[in-house]
């Protein structure tokens, strides 16, 4: 090639980059959620699929609507709205009216993310903000759990799914308590196999512990996940609930039940690990995780709700800036004794 004087673009070093990108991380998380999502559809049928679609549509439409026209497509293609919508959908009851799921998705992105200044700026996990919004707005619909439909009844939609906006939703009479509800209000435990495989009632994506762990393992192998957060949360919950179980085994469940029931695995692996809303340093991360674990058990044991993962994570999200402030790494060469 002939040598010619050509202007080259100037860019500060370093010019090398590791291969991982933020977009790739998002795709990995979506992939990791796939098994649990499919299990949810298997257990709850077409109704659950419609809830997921409504929630994702709410999230993505809101992102599209409130993004500057020139960066709309780019913002949608970074997959964060899709992921938030999906995560929210997985924490919703399968028989939720679709319009509520749609509003939840909109609230997730609008109140959970955009109002803070967009991606990376939010203090709270957007999906959980959406869920908290729904729980405060539609408390009955959000706590009415449907029994699982068999695979043969896949195409039967829950009647309440199709309720018109702002109309009283119709429930088909059959409702089933979640394992945590059974425990809290009737002191009735659920078998471990049912919890691990997901053969219980509950939110769409939280029932199968095994598949959630599988997704977590994939993220761990892809290095998309800070293992300290799930390890800290699950360890604390197991330890704390064992203590309570030893004190009073009729009112409090054992450690295995505590870990595999409710939204704990979904929350610990996919929600608490959201990098935007969790602390930066390993030390801070441990504090964060242990705090969530303690709060989960406290809320479950002494709170009004049978489940406390959502509030535990949101509360520790709020504490994250404070944790970051007090767990800053030591700057090289500072605070050492000069010889």
């Amino acid at each position: 090639m002939k040598l010619k004087e050509h202007r080259l673009k100037l860019q500060a070093a370093p010019l090398l980059k590791q291969s991982m990108t933020t977009g790739q991380t998002m795709r990995d998380v979506l992939l990791a959620l796939l098994p649990a999502t499919l299990a949810g559809l298997w257990y709850f049928g077409l109704g659950a699929l419609l809830v997921l679609i409504a929630s994702i549509a709410g999230a993505m439409l809101t992102e599209w609507l409130f993004s500057p026209a020139e960066s709309r497509m780019q913002r949608l293609s970074d997959n964060t709205a899709l992921l938030t919508g999906l995560l929210l959908g997985l924490t919703l009851p399968p028989a939720l009216p679709l319009w509520m799921a749609f509003i939840g998705g909109a609230a997730s992105i609008g109140l959970g993310k955009l109002i803070w200044g967009g991606m990376g700026q939010n203090l709270f996990n957007p999906a959980l903000v959406g869920r908290a919004f729904l729980l405060a707005t539609f408390p009955i619909a959000m706590t009415t759990w449907s029994p699982q439909s068999g695979p043969t009844e896949f195409f039967q939609i829950y009647a309440s799914n199709l309720a018109a906006p702002f109309m009283q939703s119709v429930y088909d009479g059959i409702s089933a308590a979640t394992p945590l509800g059974l425990m809290k209000f009737e002191q009735q435990s659920t078998g471990l196999w049912a919890l691990v495989s997901g053969n219980t009632s509950g939110c769409i994506g939280e029932t199968s512990g095994l598949l959630l762990l599988l997704g977590g393992l994939y993220l761990l192998l892809r290095r998309d996940l800070d293992w300290r957060i799930p390890a800290g949360i699950l360890g604390t919950v197991a330890l704390f609930s064992t203590t309570l179980y030893i004190v009073d085994s009729t009112h409090y469940p054992g450690p295995l039940f505590s870990v595999f029931s409710g939204g704990l695995l979904l929350g610990a692996i996919f929600m608490a690990t959201d990098p935007v809303t969790s602390p930066l340093t390993p030390r801070g991360t441990w504090i964060f995780a242990v705090g969530i674990g303690v709060l989960v058990v406290l809320i479950r044991a002494y709170g009004g709700f049978p489940e406390g993962v959502m509030y535990a994570i949101l509360l520790m999200n709020a504490a994250t800036p404070l944790i970051d402030r007090y767990t800053q790494p030591r700057v090289f060469g500072k605070g050492i004794k000069n010889p």
Binding site: L10, A12, L15, K17, N338
Partner: protein
């Protein structure tokens, strides 16, 4: 083998040294013109001693050192001085600096008053430092701090160890590797002279483990010297950062914004040691250096022995030109090197590499928002929070970024390398450091102006006072004169 200590953070970029690691050092044919900048070092530029049209011999002093921190510049070959004037600098700005242009005559004839030392170990440390200063030797790892100034640290600090930095942790670069493989005895001789100049007993020669041949060569060369220990380092960027190298070797942390001399250690580079050997044993000043020319866009990557002042374009020609259009052209390594504004700029004392990287190698991607993943926090070897520093700089709070540790940043680039959102963190930090320096200068100027105004006011006041006094005095004199006149009437009046 000494016990090694762990450093914080760091990254593992692909080193891509295999492109040029097995290319023996070759001599570059003399280019038609050499452009020798008067500032190739940190400190004051050298003061030219030659005039246009003068003929000089190889090794002749072209410009003398000026000030406490400065270095002289010598003729890389014999020839005629074509001029002294502005020429694009070896700097991303491409601004012109004072440069001597030399036209080689092809004889490459050395000056005749060379004065080598038969046994440098009989010299006093001061004499060694003087000779190193006279040879114009600067830190050749890229920092270009005058080597003699570093030797003179012995007057102010209690030194005990000399560390030779053979880490060469920058990807692609292989020039130090080749020097250690091809001239281990000469390098070691320079190291021993440096130790003598510093008055230290212990020498640690540190080489990253990805250079086993260099390690073996230096180890066998150093076998006879019990005070020299050749140490293999784990391969991790930025192992070659002076303070982190010292921490790895000794476990001791250099105080923030201090020197390694604060803990009794001086670090010198392999190529610097070789230059010291040349200067003391052969009385040859620093007029050439070994460079790696590499990267995916270079047809034949090479290690080349280059006269200082050679235009980069000659190096590219010597390596067969580009095989594809380079996306980026850098002087130095890909992690900390400077972008080159043009291929006309000359090789200087601190140039250790010229890299022409393809688009594929630099992974050009668009920037995404920060998701606080903390990759940069984990990668930072200095314990900083790069994401928060960058966020503060973006909104213009430079003071907040300083409070977060901006001035403790060594600009190693580990954070920007690790960032999955491709945020140019170092770019932010460089901008902020430059802006702070500019503000400091502006503040200084303002203070100076204020001081001058106050002085001027005082002077004016004094002047006014003096005028006033003078007037009063004359008034008094006039009054007394009048009085005298009335008392003793002039004879002339009556005349």
């Amino acid at each position: 083998m000494i016990k090694l200590f762990k450093i914080r953070g760091g990254v593992h970029p692909q080193d891509r040294k295999q492109l040029s690691a097995n290319q023996a050092i070759e001599n570059l044919p003399l280019p038609p013109l050499l452009h020798i900048p008067l500032q190739q070092h940190i400190g004051a530029p050298a003061e030219p001693l030659v005039r246009r049209g003068e003929t000089v011999l190889k090794g002749a002093l072209l410009a003398r050192s000026q000030g406490a921190i400065s270095a002289p510049v010598h003729a890389p070959t014999s020839g005629r001085i074509m001029g002294i004037g502005g020429f694009p600098a070896h700097h991303p700005s491409g601004l012109s600096v004072r440069t001597i242009t030399l036209q080689p005559d092809g004889n490459d004839a050395w000056v005749d008053h060379l004065d080598p030392v038969a046994d440098p170990f009989t010299l006093q440390p001061d004499d060694i430092a003087r000779r190193v200063a006279e040879a114009g030797i600067v830190g050749m790892g890229g920092a270009t701090f005058p080597a003699a100034v570093k030797l003179n640290l012995r007057n102010r600090y209690a030194l005990h160890t000399l560390v030779i930095n053979g880490a060469e942790c920058e990807p692609y670069l292989t020039c130090d590797d080749r020097l250690m493989r091809e001239q281990p005895d000469e390098v070691l001789d320079g190291v021993l002279i440096l130790a003598r100049g510093l008055g230290v007993e212990r020498i640690l020669f540190a080489i990253e483990n990805n250079k086993p041949e260099a390690f073996a060569a230096m180890n066998s060369a150093a076998h006879a010297y019990s005070q020299v220990e050749v140490v293999g380092l784990p391969t991790r960027y930025p192992m070659g950062s002076e303070k982190h190298l010292v921490q790895t070797l000794t476990g001791r942390e250099t105080p923030a914004r201090g020197l390694t001399a604060d803990i009794g250690i001086v670090v010198q580079n392999v190529a610097t040691a070789l230059a010291v050997h040349e200067a003391l044993r052969h009385a040859r000043p620093l007029i050439s250096r070994v460079m790696t020319v590499s990267g995916g866009a270079i047809r034949q990557p090479r290690n080349i022995h280059v006269p200082l002042g050679t235009p980069l374009s000659s190096l590219i020609d010597f390596c067969g030109g580009f095989k594809q259009k380079p996306a980026r052209l850098i002087s130095g390594g890909p992690m900390m090197g400077q972008p080159v504004p043009s291929i006309r700029v000359p090789v200087v004392k601190g140039s250790n590499g010229l890299l022409a990287l393809t688009e594929e190698e630099v992974r050009l991607r668009s920037e995404m928002p920060c998701i606080r993943c903390a990759s940069c926090v984990h990668a930072c070897p200095c314990g900083l929070l790069p994401l928060d520093m960058a966020a503060q700089i973006r909104v213009g709070s430079l003071d907040a970024s300083v409070n977060l540790g901006l001035l403790d940043c060594i600009a190693c680039g580990s954070c920007a390398y690790a960032c999955p959102s491709h945020i140019p963190l170092v770019h932010y930090f460089n901008y902020a450091k430059g802006e702070l320096a500019a503000r400091q200068r502006a503040q200084h100027k303002q203070n100076e102006t204020k001081r001058l105004i106050i002085i001027r006011k005082a002077r004016m006041e004094a002047l006014k006072q003096a005028k006033h006094e003078m007037m009063m005095k004359r008034k008094r004199e006039l009054a007394t004169a009048k009085q005298r006149n009335t008392e003793t009437p002039s004879t002339e009046v009556g005349a």
